[in-house]
Structure formats: C-alpha cells, structure tokens
Amino acid sequence: MNSYLELLKAKANLEQKSYSHNIELVVLNNITTNPIKDYLEYNCAVNNINIDITFGDYDNISQNAQEFDLNNKIVLIFWELANCLHGLEYKIDSFDTEHIYALEQKIQAELQLTFAALANASLVIMNRFTALPFSYLQTQTGELEELAIRLNRFCEEHAPKSIKWVNTDKCLVQSGIENTIDFKGYLKNKLLYKHGFYMSYMKLIQPYFNAVTGQVKKLLALDCDNTLWKGILGEDGFDHIAMDENTYKGQAFAAAQYRAMSLGKKGVLLALASKNNEEDVDKVLENHADLTIKQDVLVAKKVNWEAKSENLKQLASELNIGVDSFVFVDDSDFEVQLMRDQVPSVETIQVPKNAVQYYVDQQQWTNYFLQLNESQEDGKKLDQYKQNVARSKAEGKSQSFEDFLKALNLELTIYKNDEQLISRMAQMTQKTNQFNLTTPRYTEAQITQFVNDEAYDCFAFGVKDKFGDSGITGLCIVNYVDENTAHIDALLMSCRILGRTVEYRFLEEVLTQVFAKTQHLEGSYIVTKKNAQVADFYPKIGFQLKEQSETMTVYSMKKATFAAANAYNYITLHYA
C-alpha cells in the first residue's frame, strides 16, 4: 500500500462483516491526526477487531481527558511538542530561559491533569515527545530537543505505569522523513503526518490492540534447516550447517536462536517443526558446538516427515492451547503457503532468502507475543506443557490435504536421457542423502555413459506448482540387465519437493515406461545412516520383498501386477 488512496481501496475491499472483537478508542490530539481513522479501521479489521473511534477536539487534550467518559476505553494521545505553541519549532531558540521554563511548567501541569484523568481507561497509548522532524538537519542539540528530553523524563516520573509509550522516531526511520512528515500539510492544516507515518505507526501499535483483545500468541514453532541454522542437515551434514555467531554465514542464524530464547525467557513456548530425521536433529541438539538453543528450552519437537500443519494442530491439542496462538517460522514458500492454506489461524513468518534481511526482520518477532502486563508471565510453565505433550497421543489427519494438493497446480516434467542435464544428474547423486534408495555417487563421465547406453534409461524430473519451480530435483536410473529383467540402479530426490505425492506420480510413470520394455523389475534399498525415511518406499508402491539382509533389501515387481493407479491425476505430467 503506497498511498492513502490505496489504503482506502483496500479498506473498501474488506469483507463487510462483524469481527469477533470490539474496542472503543478515543484519540486526543493537539495536531490534525484524523486520517489515522482509516488506518486504524483497516488494521483492526485485518486483525478481527471492530473499532469505534472518537476524536477529541483539536488541541484540547487535558480538558477532553477530564470531560470524556474514558471508562474501559482505549485512549491514544498525539501530543505534538512543536505545536504546544504555534511555531514553537522555530521560535524556541529565540526564547530566554524564563520563557522556556514557563512554557515547560504549563505543559507539565496539563500532563498532570491528563494523567489523573486516565485512571479508568483500559489502555493508554501515548507518543513520546520528540523534536526529530524539526531538528534532523541541525548539528547541535537545540532547545526543542532539550525540552523533549526533559518532558519525557517528567513523564517517566509522573505518568501512570500503565501508559504504553510509543517512540514515533521509529516511524521516521522505517519509512523515511519524506514519506512520513508532510511539512506542507503541517503549514496548511496542522496535518503533520502522512501515509508512511501512519503505516509504520500502525505496525508499532497494533500489537497492543491485539493484546487488549486477548489475541496474544503463545508459541513459536521454528523450522530447523535454513531457519535455526544455515544449510540442510540431511544434505549438507552435521559438520556443514552454520550457526556460529563468529562467522558472517552463521550469525543471522545464531541471532535467530537467541531471539527465540529471549522469547522463551518471557514465557513464550518454543517448539521445532521440521521435516528431518528426528535422530539427526537430536544429534545437533545434543552435540553441536555452535548451538545456542538447547533441548530443555523446547516444549516439543515435531521432527518427522508428516505435514507441518498436522504436526502443529496435534501439538495444539497436546498442549491444550489454541492453534491460533501459534507463530510459525519457516524458510520454505511451500511450507508457509501450506500452513496459510491448511491452518490459516497460525501466524506465519517466512524467513527471507537474504540472511541480512532475516537478521533485521527478527526484531519483529517479539511483537507477536507482546503482553500488556509482561511481569505476570514467566518461563516456569514450560514443564507443565512438556508433560501435556508426553501424555497426548497423535490424532487423525485432516481430510482436506488432497484438496490442497489439487489446488497447487502441480506440474511434473520428465527428462529422459537428457544430455543437457548430465552435470545436474551427477551432482544430485553426490548430494542427495535422505530420499535416496541406493545412494550411488556418480561422476559426470559415468552419467554420460548411462545416457548414451541402450541398456540404461535416465529419468530426471522437475516439479512446478503455483508457488514456483523447484528445478531438476529427482532422478531414476534403470538398467536393463537382460531381455526380461531390469534393475532400478538409482532412485533419489530432494527432500524439499516431498510431501506433495510427486514421488509416487513420478515412479508410476517410470514403471509404465520400463514395463513397456521388460517383464520383470527389481529395486533395492541399501541402508545408510541417512536414508531411513525410504526404507519402506518400494513395498508402499506395490513391490514384493525378494531378499533381505542387514544392509540391503531387494524388492521385485512383475509386469502383470503393475497397473497405473491414476490416483495422482491432479499432477500434470509431460516430457521435456
């Protein structure tokens, strides 16, 4: 939203309905702030709040505070220092000390009257005094800045502790002075602030409205790979994930861990939600030297290959708190969109691709968990919650997952014996650990040989959905051993594309192709430390067990028993 007009349009497009929460707000001001009404109404509607706004008279704060019925209302106060006297910003440095002192006494008296009248309000939000819009070009600290400092100190000493103070200088930094301060509007109509200011201001104060309506988040669910640490544990390995705060690469991720822990200290529950092998993540939690966040601060770990939406719903029922009190952080577009689609009440934060941006954005995490009375909270409830998790059992899955997949517009592109992809295919065999049935490591020369050999077929594939293209992420190499028999020499895919049934659709197509040439197909699962997740892949798709040893299991399938199930028709398939 880049202008007031765009905001008005967005507001007009909101569904006309009654929201679950109601607040009554009184705005007291000594400058013109009326456009804030539209910003307040829009932001509250988005946060499921009906807001009823009354404005006090222009420049009549202390008297309005006495007269208005503020009982159980929220009061928002814009007390603009520069407008305490017409033209104060350019006059004050010409005043003598007594003059400034008299002015200060008058403002203090009005502040006292106002504070005394606010006792019954449910919440008071007031801006700190600032001279920044009128002093940012000036080298030395002027009288207006000095006065702002003294008045802020006075407020600290005399104001009720319940007042929430907002530093509007942050709005100027967030949106830039040219987008926040309207000097022309100020000179014409005392309209000092413009669009960028109100947008940033709403970001700063909305958490208070959410808190006063009980919409406070309680749990932070964190993905692991590229969220708690840089890199993918299953692919890069224990030694190559980064979270060392003394390296540039790791620092943003170390910061994320500290940010999470400081929330934990305030009583926010912390959980992991990661698609990984549980033992791999446990090993990191127990032994990784660079790790800051430790097992004992986590209320639960949902580390498995199930849908994260299901994991979080299950966790909510285990903890007996609403899933709408969850904030979920993940780097994957897919996981974030899936969560928004499946459990829209979970607040999602997508980790930016740029680690520096990630580091900066983490400042905002705490906003979701803002409480009106922070001291009431502590971290001791963690143990109780942990017991809840231990007692609870897994519950059934949502029915609508398939509908979600259908809406993804999945597209599978198969590349058969494609010479262009030789280096990518070799790279995949070298890098893929988890979804990898036999884990062969091939060089480009070997792959070149397979591509050109009649006795081999190399099927690579790429997946696209409405959120984006994952690139070439899977490979199956079939070896025709003799006239009637073929072996699946390699079958592997990147874990980031799993969870969308693409693996089944791909293999169904490969089998259709292979059985056009042969009668009998074998596939084996060779055990490694990392590929446990595919141990039962072949039986799952209808292969029969043939031989089994500790390190290897061989499965087979006859052409007669194979029939394409066509169960995955929502995935469009074509050849490159």
């Binding site: 202008s3 007009l5 008005l8 009326n34 456009p35 539209d38 509007g185 109509n189």
Partner: protein, 79 residues
Amino acid sequence: MPNIEEKLKEIMALVFDVSTEEINEDTSPDDLDNWDSIGSINLVTALEDEFDIEFEEEDIIEMLNFQLIKIKIEEKIEA
C-alpha cells in the same frame, strides 16, 4: 474526459464512505455527512495520490461541489 469523472466518483465514495450512486454532478458538502473540513482534507490527499497533482489553498476553497472539483482536476492535469 469521462475517465476523470468516474475516478472522482469512486474516490469521493471511498473517502466519504458512501456508494457511488449517491454522488452526482451537484453533490456538495451539504449532501454528505462525512464531507466536513476533515473530509475535504482527506479528499484532497486522495485526489493528489490518484492524479499525481497538487492543490493549492485557493484551489481547495473553490472545490465546492463535484462539478467544480472535476474542472479543477482537469485544469491541473492540463497544466
């Protein structure tokens, strides 16, 4: 310029929180509850956003109804 007329109608409806049917050539501050001094300021801000123009104080004084505002916008765009 029918486009300006349509856009103006749409913006006035948004700012004053009424439907476009309630606005015609003669609509003036007397006809709409929200068209007070604050409403005028909001309208000017929104029109400046939409048409990328800037109004002066004397322009605003002359913007007494829909028709006059439309003429003002046309002048500004041509200038």
